[in-house]
Amino acid sequence: MEGIRRSARRPMAVAASAVAVTALAACGGSDGGSGGSGSASGESCTNEIVNADAPQVSVWAWYPAFEQVVDNFNETNDDVQICWTNAGQGADEYTKFSTALEAGSGAPDVIMLEAEVLSTFTIRDGLVDLSEYGAGELEGEFTEGAWSDVTNGDAIYAVPVDGGPMGMLYREDIFAEYGVEVPTTWEEFATAAQALKDAGYEGYITNFPTNGNAFIHALMAQKGWEPFTYDAAAPTEIGIAVDTEPAQEVLSYWEGLVDEGLVSTDEAFTADYNTSLVDGTYAVYLAAAWGPGYLQGLSDADEEATWRAAPIPQWEGEEPTQINWGGSTFAVTSQADDPELAAQVAMGIFGTEEAWDIGIEEAALFPLWKPVLESDGFATREYEFFDGQQIQQDVFLEAASGYQGFTFAPFQTYVYDQQTQQLFAMVEGSVDSAGALAGFEKSLVDYATAQGFTVTE
């Protein structure tokens, strides 16, 4: 999915070329446009309002093909209309939302957020608990893992939309050409990497991006890494356990591959990386369910390429564990004029099969809504990019149902920045994996303490 890949990105400094003192102070809510105007006017909507008499709810979202979903919603709802704005992807949008929260106005009524940033905004009282507005009834319509990502105790902070269960996309032609078996475990993966190299393959089995953010989190989570304990009900307490055995094992595994030159360490989501993904430089793309959609959108692809999807490798001798990378939700902001109406919209946008027809067909989203997720049509859908392989049934459905949820920190951007710095130092060779994790943990504990948290390690 076009949008979520950017989750790993840093906020682009487009408008900020001159961060003067003034910019810091005066950045109010000028960006918001439609923000906060809720039912006031529809003039700044990207979409056409079908039913002009109905109250409007402003929505920020960056899904591809979202306009069609909005039109579908507006045409089928007489009592409420969506006024949609694309306020940027991922971090770009969060920056605006965060600024609007600071300013006290300018936020939309409903906002698309990745699950990983929900606690970043709940701690700033930016989101409305949807349990008051009947969101609890939706629990049965989502998988356990997806639901746990948006809830905290009895509080429900968002409605899940799409997910990023992980699988392994690989170049069948490359593996066949060099006569290497497709790996199913990480141990086999390392052997295959060496075998490919020995057989004369000039690329790398895959890439280990130091700015992989949620991707790196997911790899470590597969071994049972639970870096944070955080409960929105006790917002001043946080448990940080970053430098633990699962993380050490996973990181030293990748450190080994990097040191032997078996994987590359290109920064992800750059033009170089995008080209390498599709021109045969990488034989494997460890991807989320939105990955195929992402691949298809890239140019300079090797036309001879034969892509296949397989389950994510597992650790030998351990219970198979499914992991998730990205995925998004709809939340209602604390600046919503009419939280009840906004909640109705947040729950309703992707609550119909028509909306999901568009979401799956046009935007290549992976639905978390069970009526679609568990439908035969979705499971047996054949993907042309994979020469007709039923990738959902083969790979992602199982990955999604096995995912147990993950707790992120309420300052996740900082966590990602620190992770990037430590991993970069590791691949440059200035620290080893143990040192990187120790530095990572220390920086987070220091930061959390300075931010007034009671930290338990």
Binding site: A13, A18, P235, A271
Partner: protein
Amino acid sequence: MTTSTVTTSAPGRGATPTEPGRGRGSRIEHNRQRWGWFFLTPFAIVFLVFLVAPLGYAFWMSLHTSTLAAGESFTGIANYQRAFTDPLFLEGLLRVGKFVVVMVPIQIGIALAAALVLDTLATRLSKFSRLMIFAPYAIPGMIGALMWGFLYSPRFGPATDLFELFGATAPSFLASGTVFGSLVNIVTWQWSGYYMIIIFAALRGIDPAIYEAARIDGANGWQTALRIKVPMISSALVMVVIFSLIGTLQFFTEPAVLRTVAPGAIPADYTPNMYAFALAFSYSQFNYASTIAFALGIVVFVFSYVFLYLTRKKSGLK
């Protein structure tokens, strides 16, 4: 400069030179001042609303501390104490300090050399060269940095192919050890032309008769350039150095743009301005970000003041 134009364009003083006219003169003076204020009003309003008020507000914010868990409280100058002991801020300052030491002399050196050469040539080629040297400045900083990001890329940039011609491997321009030089290169490329134009304009302002006198006295081209021209444009040079100094201390655009392709080599707190940006917009610490911005402002002010003080004779400000 402005004051000198005001005084010279005040014929009123000449019209009432005698003492008896003093009462009338001061009324005229008074009237003139009122009109002065009147014409100043549009600017003054914009200045107060968009510069002074936000500055005041940012300063007020910088006196408060807001943390994620503990909320906001008034803490006076505690934030400033924290800023000037914050290793990230100090490292950033040290880094821009290094940029100042390396980048300012290179830029000014290139600009001065180009201006002196162009000043002595009078062919059509010199006009064209002047335009070409200036051209990078006409490209917005964002675009320039993005473009260089591609040029530095091992896949899209020319370096890989060029080095291959000689059988060598191209260095990585975006590794942590080389990114400093890559940034110096971008900024020099972008700004040297601009400084060159300023210096060139100052050179054009020198009376050619002086050169003639120098020639008659037996000065050669080098001597004219170094002993006559450079001293005579020293005030322009001081101004250019000040521009360059302040710009470098506030370094932001180029590293922020390159960060999208080299997030490992350029951390979020690479320069003080980037640190302030990250604090405010990535980590939601608006108060501390204001403090960092002010602290940087103080440092810039001190540096500029010291420099102007040291060069007060050359700059003509004394």
